[in-house]
């Protein structure tokens, strides 16, 4: 039940959004999103509710740190 999956927002109407990944479409709720996502953004879905927009830049940044610098000096 704890599975949280990223899905792409296709359409928004009020607190309800249509989301899709790999051809699977679902209707989910946006009640927990202070700033509503935009169509085309990916959101993390948990138990039928979006809990967070997936930040792709942050994802790439994490990978870059490990690919390039290996700078793990902890502040």
């Amino acid at each position: 039940m704890c599975l949280a999956v990223p899905m792409e927002v296709k359409h928004i109407e009020g607190e309800v959004a249509d989301v899709e990944i790999g051809g699977v479409r679902k209707q989910i709720r946006l009640d927990l999103m202070g700033d509503k996502p935009q169509v085309g953004e990916f959101v993390i879905i948990h138990a039928g509710f979006a809990i967070r927009v997936l930040n792709r830049e942050e994802a790439m940044e994490t990978i870059k740190i490990f690919q390039e610098g290996w700078n793990l000096e902890l502040v």
Partner: protein, 365 residues
């Protein structure tokens, strides 16, 4: 995420494995994950079997089904047997054994009305379709699930849907970690912190633990590189003797978490003590209905009480949840207790430690 995702890049993963060995400098690292999805991800990705022998992985109380207390199971089973009650639940609870081995599945065979839903919101539709009955949603789950149930309750209240009730059995992670760390027998040297719980609560609630117990803690994602990076960061913090909380899942977790979700939980629930299977009562680790929502509280409306309920005979799930016994050391493991015929909840849930060991470790043997 596709298989070409850089977070699954085998070369990068191998490099991180090498870095882990270096950071350890021959020392051990006993780390615990406290998220059922991490349990499964560590096994399914193969990371568990690739780790150097000095890295010991313990599974903690991170499966919401597994930590649901015996007396909570007894309470909802009692309710399922009543006339005029429809239970709505996540499917995971269907086979969790209660007193005498009874379960919701068995209750259905005996005439109980149970609807399995994917989202708490779907339970509202069940309530609308059964206006003459009380529809009771079983509110299990951690900080990630609690807001979804709270948001649903808010809609139910706004729509005047008085036959929609919730039994709140939610559990909060940081108080449980505090209790585990305070245990003198606890030998954990690092925490892999739950990704999606942290998406709601942020990183601040873990900081006092890292400071009080000087334990390296990393908020981690669920891809192979996420898992390996988290282990590397724990090993580095240990090597540099700089224990703290690191957020290594920034693409999903912001340091402040999700304030909207937390505000909804604060409106609908209030903190209370909660019972955890195998651990017992933990102060401030649960959520009870706030006064404004008492009309939707199944305990209040239907007069249900939590009564003392004996642990399942022979079941060692409690010790598994505390990281004191690996699942395969339980005398019942893969003998009397299998996924097809589970004795305890850790073998029932797909996120349970015992089910993960059964599925992935036996294949290796």
């Amino acid at each position: 995420m596709s298989s070409s995702d850089p977070l699954r890049d085998p070369a990068l993963c191998r490099e991180v494995l090498g870095r882990i060995e270096e950071a350890l400098q021959g020392r051990s690292l006993r780390f615990m994950e406290v998220c059922g999805t991490h349990t499964v991800a560590l096994f399914r990705s193969g990371v568990h079997s690739l780790l150097p022998s000095q890295v010991v992985h313990l599974t903690g109380p991170g499966c919401p089904v597994c930590v649901t207390h015996e007396s909570e199971v007894a309470a909802y089973l009692e309710l399922a047997g009543r006339d005029g009650v429809v239970i709505a639940t996540f499917g995971d609870l269907m086979r969790v054994p209660g007193p005498g081995g009874a379960s919701l599945k068995q209750a259905v065979a005996e005439g109980a009305r149970v609807e399995v839903v994917y989202s708490p919101f779907d339970a509202l539709a069940v309530a609308k379709a059964n206006p003459g009955d009380k529809v009771v949603f079983l509110g299990i789950g951690f900080e990630t699930t609690a807001p979804t149930v709270a948001a649903t309750l808010r809609v139910a209240k706004a729509e005047g849907l008085s036959n929609f009730l919730v039994m709140p059995f939610h559990k909060l992670v940081p108080p449980a970690l505090d209790v585990l760390l305070a245990d003198p027998e606890m030998s954990v040297e690092g925490f892999m912190l739950p990704g999606h719980v942290s998406a709601i609560i942020g990183t601040a609630p873990y900081a006092p633990l890292a400071e009080k117990y000087r334990i390296p803690s990393v908020v981690a994602g669920f891809e192979p590189l996420d898992l390996l990076q988290a282990i590397l960061l724990m090993a580095e913090m240990k090597r540099q003797d700089k224990p703290r909380v690191v957020n290594n899942y920034k693409r999903v977790v912001s340091d402040e978490g999700n304030p909207t979700a937390r505000a909804i939980v604060e409106e609908v629930y209030r903190p209370c003590d909660a019972l955890w299977r195998g651990i017992g009562s933990i102060p401030g680790s649960g959520l009870a209905m706030a006064d404004a929502y008492k009309a939707h509280d199944a305990f209040e409306v239907l007069g249900v009480e939590l009564r003392e309920s004996p642990p399942l005979p022979g079941c060692r799930c409690g010790e598994v949840l505390k990281g004191k016994m690996p699942p395969d050391k339980c005398p019942l493991f893969a003998k009397a207790c299998t996924p097809a015929n589970p004795v305890g909840p850790c073998m029932v849930s797909t996120e349970g430690s015992c089910a993960a060991y059964f599925k992935y470790q036996l294949d290796l043997a």
